[in-house]
Subunit: 171 residues, 2 copies
Amino acid sequence: MDRPSATRELFQGRWLQVVEETWPGVGAWEIVRPADAAAVLARTPDGDVLLVRQFRPAAGRALLEIPAGLLDMDGESPVACATRELVEETGFRHISIEPLAVVFPSPGAWGERIHLFEAETTSEPDGDPEDGIELVRLPFDEVVAEARAGRIEDAKTALALLLSASRGVGG
Amino acid sequence: MDRPSATRELFQGRWLQVVEETWPGVGAWEIVRPADAAAVLARTPDGDVLLVRQFRPAAGRALLEIPAGLLDMDGESPVACATRELVEETGFRHISIEPLAVVFPSPGAWGERIHLFEAETTSEPDGDPEDGIELVRLPFDEVVAEARAGRIEDAKTALALLLSASRGVGG
């Protein structure tokens, strides 16, 4: 049961597509089918986390997040997307990168999966962040404390921080 | 800058609404505006977590999640929604409940916020789970280990588990 018995397009916009899927025994559901995404918790050799602050229309304000982007280029793998977004959004290049998890951010009606990675980067950037993006470089422990206190509002960022911290501590 | 300068409805379905919002300095974005949600990490007095397994059309299969639901009833508060969903989805009632965090699951184009809570419940349920929902009762430490290993696919569930575990440990 991994394919709907019927699919009907309800809306096709510039970026978003809404479909009605009928699943056996479940019925008809409206679902948004965006591209999947990749995101990377990147740390410098001196233990800083590279975060980006940018205005998010869906939130109505700027949020502090790990670098991330959509898998909307043909054939691009999640890890290639994560390392590309890291360079584009922060100017830093990765030295090593490992998967953390693959998660559904809101599996009721939002069909996105996010591929989460953890990377070590060079000490200094090769270039500047993209326009509209502010690079925020902070000590890892400080940002993890913010996440534990519930003050990181972006779910993928909070989750990547807590996953990384719990593994580093011995889990 | 917390309101768009223009909003245009692009699609109105049975449950989902897609709008185009124009933000000063940012431009026009397609955004889905679902209702916000509440979710609750519920533990019994003997240290079990109450999870629910249900088929999720957006994921194309069943996922293991903490009880959750939409704030789609007029005037219902997030905490009232969380405790109502706990009873409806598991049959257990809360004894105490505390906020964990409020997060944006995917702030690019999905305008949902999830209110995460942590609750203590009664030892035994008052009733049965809703149709289509399987109650899964597991030791807290075992489920946290699954989350740390990246094997909990629902982001809000993994995040709530790691938040709760990191606070219990002394953070």
